[in-house]
């Protein structure tokens, strides 16, 4: 075996230089990039986890608020129903009482008008009696005609 010893030392030096060049210019930067990527992936995973949690919390919150809104809506409808029933009852009651009141008033009016009419009639009858009496006196008539006249007036009065 022919050994050229200079090759041994040349290779030693060459590999040393190659090692230095590679670590200085090629793999040094690449290692740092890989480290950065590791960090980057870690951060991304963390942020993904965070946003997932956030989304879950928000979903829960929204679910609750939806539930709340539904309940509120139900309550409002319920209330509206009650109110409307109450109002309808009130309206009916008011209408009834109004009607009763109007009827009563009408009855009272009728009564008072009747009373008025009667009293007016009374006063007229008395006036008429006076007039009849004066007419009788004016005419100076006999019994027969007097009787006739009284009947006549009485009939008039009675027909009124």
């Amino acid at each position: 075996m022919d050994i050229v010893w200079s090759n041994f030392f040349i290779q030693l030096v060459a590999f040393g230089i190659l090692y230095w060049l590679l670590s200085r210019y090629a793999f040094g930067p690449l290692f740092s990039i890989m480290e950065q990527r590791k960090q980057f992936v870690k951060e991304q995973l963390e942020s993904a986890e965070n946003s997932r949690k956030q989304a879950e919390a928000q979903y829960e919150e929204q679910k609750q608020s939806l539930q709340q809104a539904r309940k509120d809506a139900y309550d409002i409808i319920e209330q509206a129903k009650q109110t409307s029933t109450k109002q309808a009852d009130e309206i009916v009651n008011t209408a009834k009482s109004e009607a009763t009141r109007l009827k009563d008033e009408a009855v009272k009016d009728i009564e008072s008008e009747k009373n008025k009419a009667i009293s007016a009639l009374r006063s007229q009858v008395s006036g008429m009696s006076v007039m009849i009496a004066s007419k009788i006196i004016e005419k100076q008539i006999d019994d027969k005609s007097q009787e006739q006249l009284v009947d006549q007036y009485l009939n008039e009065v009675g027909s009124k």
Partner: protein
Amino acid sequence: MDHIFPEVHLGGIRFDLAAIFMIVLTSIIVFVMAKLAVRGASVTNPTKMQNFLEWVIEFVQNIIGTTMDLKKGRPYLMLGISMIMYLFVANLLGLPFGIITEAHHGATFLGMELHMEGEEAHIAWWKSPTADVAVAGALMAIVIVLTHIEGLRRNRKHYLKHYIEPYAAFFPLNVIKEIAKPLSLSLRLYGNIFAGEVMIGVIMGMGWFGIPALIVWQGFSIFVGAIQSFVFVMLTMVYMSQAIVHEEGH
């Protein structure tokens, strides 16, 4: 026909120009590839090349993870990545073609006289750098020296103690084991890659009939090159873990 490698003698030291050329070329290819891959590298939108390089990193991380605690192995990640990329490129580089020049005695390269035994030689300029035992040995030496240094530095007591385990009488055996490790590590790599290139040379000698065999063998060599670079890095990490990890129950 035998091919020799272009050799020059400078100040009494032999230099293998082909090996030097291929070492430099491999290093440049690896560095340019890595540099292009991280150009415009981004955190959120990695390019295809960036993805590939990150895959390499994860691959080496997995190798380290199978042999030791990844936290303890982190300092050797860069070593593993550089080693596997360099070895992979180096192992495959010799496969696709060869550059062979014919030279006569007294031929020069950049003013340096090429050394040759005979009057005339075929000089092979293109080969896998790891097909040279000295180059494979240098890569092995980096790894083995580092394991011993790291063992002494980070795990001194247990590292020293493991030489006399289970009994002090086992010391010679343990020393043999420590010597066998680098030998097997470098010779395995060198043997596989060198044999692959020798086989390619032999098949080329078959002429046109050799083309199907060449295709098959080149495919197999790609496989061998990839496996050898993987095995080398795997064993690096295994030796490292043996040196630095304090085993439970001892």
